[in-house]
């Protein structure tokens, strides 16, 4: 089975409390933040590796990111993918989900053909959850997202369980498919030392706008139907009165507060 995994390098979600907006320029300050594989994309990659173990074939990583993200793709290769295709071009900067999906779909076509495209369901940074469906549309593949369980038979027939509010939905269909994977699906394997060694020799292809043959007006900020305005940092600051004393003293104060809000008679 030929599988593409969409892998997005994102700033480490554990450090989002450090993200600031420069008050002078209004630009996002994210210096010093580590870059990691988008957490859900690891689950997508795990699913792909399991299918490869079941059916043979290859797993390719595809992403759009600055060239400095090579290390993050190397991690995906260390986990077990065969090769990586990194779409990197100044022209891609500032892309919204649709402009991003155009680049990813073009790369999937060029690196393909693939039977299956797996992605995370939501990225940790932008987090629109649009990309799986939009890549599916642009490829002309059927697609499902928020996938929490799936099986693909050797006949190419897939049964897919997607998460819904307070439950799930079970769908059936044929490959090729795009599936947006949630973390509930599996537990990603640890990278092994042998994997790290092997990854050093695996190819990472870097593709530019020209390599993908895309129109400049369809990618990046210029090609994005949504345009960003101002950025804010939600001001959640409250008065922060410190309640001091022993536990029983604090408890008495809290009961007083509960009373005054009317939640306790």
């Amino acid at each position: 089975m030929e599988i593409a995994v969409l892998l997005k390098p994102v700033p480490d979600p554990a450090q989002y409390d450090k993200i600031q907006i420069d008050p002078a320029t209004g630009i996002l300050v994210r210096e010093g933040l580590k870059t990691v594989i988008n957490p859900e994309d690891k689950h997508a990659l795990e699913a792909a590796l399991q299918l490869k173990e079941q059916y043979g074939g290859r797993v390719a990583l595809i992403g759009m990111a600055p060239a400095s993200a090579v290390e993050t793709f190397r991690e995906g290769l260390a986990m077990g993918a065969e090769e990586a295709f990194l779409c990197s071009d100044r022209a891609f900067a500032g892309a919204d989900s649709l402009a991003t999906s155009r680049v990813l779909a073009a790369a999937v076509k060029k690196a393909g053909p693939f039977d299956l495209v797996l992605s995370g369901s939501t990225s940790a940074d932008g987090g629109t959850a649009h990309v799986p469906s939009q890549v599916g549309e642009l490829l002309g593949f059927a697609h499902l997202t928020h996938v929490i369980q799936f099986e693909i038979g050797s006949d190419g027939l897939a049964s897919v369980r997607t998460k819904m509010e307070n439950g799930y939905r079970e769908s059936r269909g044929r490959l090729p498919l795009v599936l947006g994977i949630r973390r509930e699906l599996n537990t990603p394997r640890y990278i092994s030392l042998m994997g790290i060694m092997a990854a050093q020799g695996k190819p990472v292809h870097v593709w530019s706008l020209d390599d993908l043959g895309l129109d400049k007006g369809k990618v990046g900020l210029a090609g994005s139907p949504t345009q960003p305005g101002k950025l804010y940092q939600p001001d959640m600051k409250r008065k922060g009165e410190v309640l001091q004393g022993e536990a029983w003293e604090v408890a008495q104060r809290l009961v007083g507060i509960f009373r005054s809000t009317g939640i306790l008679g």
Binding site: S97, S133, Q134, E170, P225, P228, L231, E241
Partner: protein, 342 residues
């Protein structure tokens, strides 16, 4: 009367004959926009898809809706992306609304981006604020980085302007007097069998037991700092004493201490706005904080004086959460007994 332009469409969601609450919440925003935005002319329409859902069309028409597009067909019984997006695409291309709004549910998060891709238009995800500026453009406020950052999004050059809204972001509006017109559409011209590539074979949804978090006046939220399933029991006792509900962070959920995923609060969970929120052993990551910011009083107990959670609290307690919860239980029970004694 001249035919009223229907500027804003809300795509509503029904599951097995029940309207999703988020659809009504979104409708409330649509009604607010047409009433308050002077640069926006036109009314509100909803699109309802399903199988024998006429009574829902009636119900919807009472929320300040000018028109209900009702498409009824056995093939639309369950949501399925191919069939639903096929119908919606044809309707939108025919009627050309300015604005198209969705609930960001499991289904909505497939449908909205699918349509945006087909229509080559912009979609703003998980809006926490919607406004119309002087030029009549929709200003959509969206979160990123787990809620740490909010950004304005515009869709200047393409139509419709699309946006999705998460459940619980806005409150459910009051029903209103008057009712909109229900227009039953001809499903056969809107839905083609060739649209359908995937079939829905089963749907399972069941309301969880107990008081839903989003309806509770008191939310006792626990985090990884609670330390064990045993300590978690204290939170449940406290919630019971206060007739509230217990919420959790993702690490606490992952530890298996909680009643389940439906109790998780934050960007990938519930949004709550109780009168009192008490956080215990929660660091206060943006992902969690995004789900509680509209709460009445926010209290946090964390043994780390510098925990980010303290910064967004009305009251901070720097102490062991287990000890404070135990003391609270004792104090509440004591005062209740005193009252009874009197």
């Amino acid at each position: 009367m001249a035919e009223k332009r229907l500027a804003i469409w809300v795509v509503v969601e029904q599951n097995q004959g029940k309207l999703a609450s988020v659809s009504i919440e979104v409708l409330g925003q649509a009604a607010r926009l047409v009433e308050t935005a002077s640069a926006l002319s036109g009314g509100v329409a909803v699109v309802l898809l399903g199988d024998q859902v006429g009574d829902l069309a009636e119900e919807l028409s009472a929320y300040g809706v000018d028109q209900v597009y009702w498409v009824d067909d056995p093939r639309l019984k369950h949501y399925q992306n191919d069939s639903y997006s096929g119908v919606l695409q044809r309707l939108v291309e025919r009627e050309k609304p300015d604005i198209l709004l969705f609930g960001a549910t499991g289904a909505g998060e497939e449908l909205a981006p699918t349509l945006a891709a087909r229509l080559s238009t912009g979609l703003a995800a998980h809006c926490t604020g919607l406004d119309v500026n002087a030029d009549g453009q929709l200003v959509m406020k969206v979160p990123a980085f787990g809620g740490r950052v909010l950004g304005e999004i515009f869709c200047p050059n393409t139509r419709p302007q699309m946006a999705s809204i998460k459940p619980g972001t806005f409150t459910v509006p009051q029903r209103r007097a008057g009712r909109g017109e229900i227009v039953r559409e001809d499903a056969s011209s809107l839905l083609l069998d060739t649209d359908i590539r995937l079939t829905t074979v089963d749907v399972l949804q069941s309301e969880p037991l107990g008081l839903p978090l989003e309806k509770a006046d008191v939310v006792i939220a626990g985090g990884y700092g609670m330390g064990s399933k045993k300590n978690w029991g204290l939170l449940e006792q406290l919630a019971a004493e206060l007739q509230g509900a217990v919420g959790c962070t993702r690490p606490a959920l992952d530890e298996g201490w909680t009643a389940g995923e439906h109790t998780m609060i934050g960007t990938s969970g519930k949004t709550v706005r109780p009168k009192v929120y008490l956080g215990c052993g929660i660091s206060g990551a943006a992902h969690h904080a995004a789900g509680i910011k509209d709460s009445g009083v926010i209290i946090n107990v964390n043994r780390d004086a510098l925990a980010p959670a303290h910064a967004y609290s009305d009251y901070c307690v720097t102490a062991d959460a287990k000890k404070v919860v135990e003391a609270l239980l004792e104090e509440i029970r004591r005062t209740k007994n005193e009252k009874r004694g009197r």
